[in-house]
């Protein structure tokens, strides 16, 4: 599991009109080993997005000269390119999120956002591209789940999971070695699109953790402080990322 290097050797394009913001994002991603190109206006961004192959594109919606970033997404999809796109916007999230995603963007993040949230989402998008067809079985250390029979077992012992707990575990395993944020979990596992003001996700994780990790020497579900969670065999890699 190459946790620390999940972004390395991937090529990302950032289209964002504010040079300082774009610079911060690019520097942060480069520190994780990624190759990053930055572009500040819509037309050049369109040319770059369409003309080269990227692992993911980070796209601001409001670009100079009234250029709506979603045009780039539409152009990409019209050409049959499935490059994952993370749409950024200073607009409110509710309606714009839906519209952004409908235009073919794959994920949506409203400004201001935490850098860790950005990285987690880019990671998830990159991974999604690599595993287009879902495996029937997933295995991390001695934890095994079967997506067809919906059985989970750890060290040969069957785990008694509620349906939602199973989906939560499956999502964590699909993104094994990656950090997933609380909002990502709420969106993907519960299909709710709001920011809870309570520690609701933490409670569910701790219940799952009690079933999965309790009584085992090797803990698999780890909390990444201030960011989210990660299912991994090697928590030291998380520390190596400086998180």
């Amino acid at each position: 599991m190459g946790v620390a290097c999940s972004l390395s050797n991937h090529r990302y394009l950032i289209i964002e009109d504010d040079p300082l913001n774009a610079g911060f994002m690019a520097d942060g991603l480069r520190q994780q080993g990624a190759q990053v190109s930055v572009c500040h206006d819509g037309l050049r961004g369109l040319a770059l997005a369409v003309g080269q192959d990227w692992d993911a594109i980070v796209l601001d919606r409001m670009l100079p000269d009234d250029f709506d970033g979603l045009k780039i997404v539409q152009a990409l999809r019209a050409m049959g390119k499935h490059t994952p796109v993370l749409v950024l916007s200073a607009l409110s999230s509710i309606d714009e999120r839906v519209r952004g995603l409908k235009a073919g963007g794959d994920d949506y993040l409203s400004k201001p956002f935490a850098f860790s949230e950005l990285v987690a989402r880019i990671e998830a998008l990159t991974r999604r591209l690599q595993t287009v067809d879902k495996p029937r079985e997933m295995l991390v250390a001695d934890l095994r789940i079967n997506l067809m029979t919906r059985n989970a077992e750890r060290g040969g012992q069957a785990l008694q999971l509620q349906p939602r707990e199973f989906r939560l575990l499956a999502y964590l395993m699909q993104h094994a070695g990656q950090i997933v944020t609380r909002t990502m979990l709420l969106e993907s596992v519960w299909d709710f699109h709001f920011d809870p003001q309570t520690n609701v996700i933490d409670v569910h994780i701790s219940r799952l953790r009690a079933k999965v990790d309790k009584g085992h020497a090797l803990a698999l579900i780890h909390t990444v402080r201030g960011v989210g969670y990660c299912l991994t065999t090697d928590p030291h890699d998380l520390l190596a990322q400086g998180l």
Binding site: S92, D95, P112, F192, H193, F194, P196, Q197, V200, H204
Partner: protein
Amino acid sequence: MARVLPWRSLAFRLALSYGCMLVFTVAVVLAVFYLQIVGVLRSRLDQYATTQLKRLQDYAAMHGVSALHEQIDHLMRDGINTDTEIILLLTPEGHTIIGNADIVPARRLTQLGMRELTVQRMGRNVVGRVQAVLLPDGNYLVVGSDMRTQVSIEDLFARASSLVVLVALLMAVVGAISFRRLVDARALGIRSTMARVAAGDLAQRIPVQSQEKDEFALLSRDINSMLERLQQVMDGVRHVSNTIAHNLRTPMTRILLRLRAAEQAPEADQRATLRLVAEEVAELGVVFDKLLAIAEVESGALRQAFAAVDVAALLLELHELYEPVVQEEGGSMALQLPGDPSDGLHGPCVALGDTNLLASALANVVENAIKYGARDGVGPRIVLQARCLAAAGDAAACVEILVQDDGLGVAEADLAQLSQRFFRAQQQQPGTGLGLASVQAVVRLHGGQLQFRNTEPGFAVQILLPVALPPTHSAL
């Protein structure tokens, strides 16, 4: 303000065209009358000529042509119609043998039968309606009547008719002008008010009497109620932007002061300040996002994406999401959904709306119950309830959602303010003061109602949403 030119005025054009139509109708009626009268008069003259001629011809056949002279002489003197009748016995060249008129100049008659003929009678030229026949001795017998009476009746009729048409035309024009004045005056009241509103004075209203019920009064009332609503919205916007400015400036000032203080502080303190400031800025971002979300919901544009939402299923999912949180805090969360119809609750709870928005609003209410519903160190005991209320009286059928806790409730005086932006009943707890404001916005967007009440013990939030009609009903 631009004035309406007379011929551009709708009232003027309508009244004028209506008047012209009237004049046209009158003209047609008069023409029909005229033709009828002339026809009757003419046929009477013709009949007279025919009868007289027949009598004279019969007389001539019985007593010989020479006896005709005597008879004609008698007819001219008998005092019946002597002033209008024309009787002539003419030579083939047109000279009068006996009769009461002459053809001037004398000429051979080229046309026999019923015809009009100009003759000189008592020194005057008159047009006569006559019937002429050729007698066996080669002379012509001409009998008929002078048409003066008829011509004078026709003249009279023509003069009277043109007078009538003229008067009608005059009435049409005068009517059009006065109609225009009247409508213009009514419109002017509305237009001058609108001009003042356009200039920025939203408090202006069109003066309208309560007993007035005509089109202009109705239009004025509609405009007035629209202005009322506009003014409310504008006041609301002004109030909101003031509140927002205040609530965003306060944390910004705090951030600035912290940063300034940290400039001189030792490095360890600076690091702590940076962390604090980052948290504050993140919090500001949340506030911004919520404000924008509320504004977006209030704009109403999201209504286009409405679909049927199963409220019961939504509550089930929220219950599943939040129950562990409540249990962690030592409380409980019960769910009451309409089961089978026998227990008094009707059918499935389906509302028309946006699932995401309703979910976020309901989550907000539930999280409030978790935060404020605890009492005496015991965790919150929350009841989530949904049911369908059938239509009763004026109230349409609706879905009722009830979120109830057994906490300390809210001071009665604060109840009305709960859904105002930035109002916070419990200042010591962390929060943005935007949660219930966004719930209110979402409920309003759905055409529903949001109500709060203290239930002693506890606090209840009631949301009423209009029921979505089942597709089979709307397809009918």
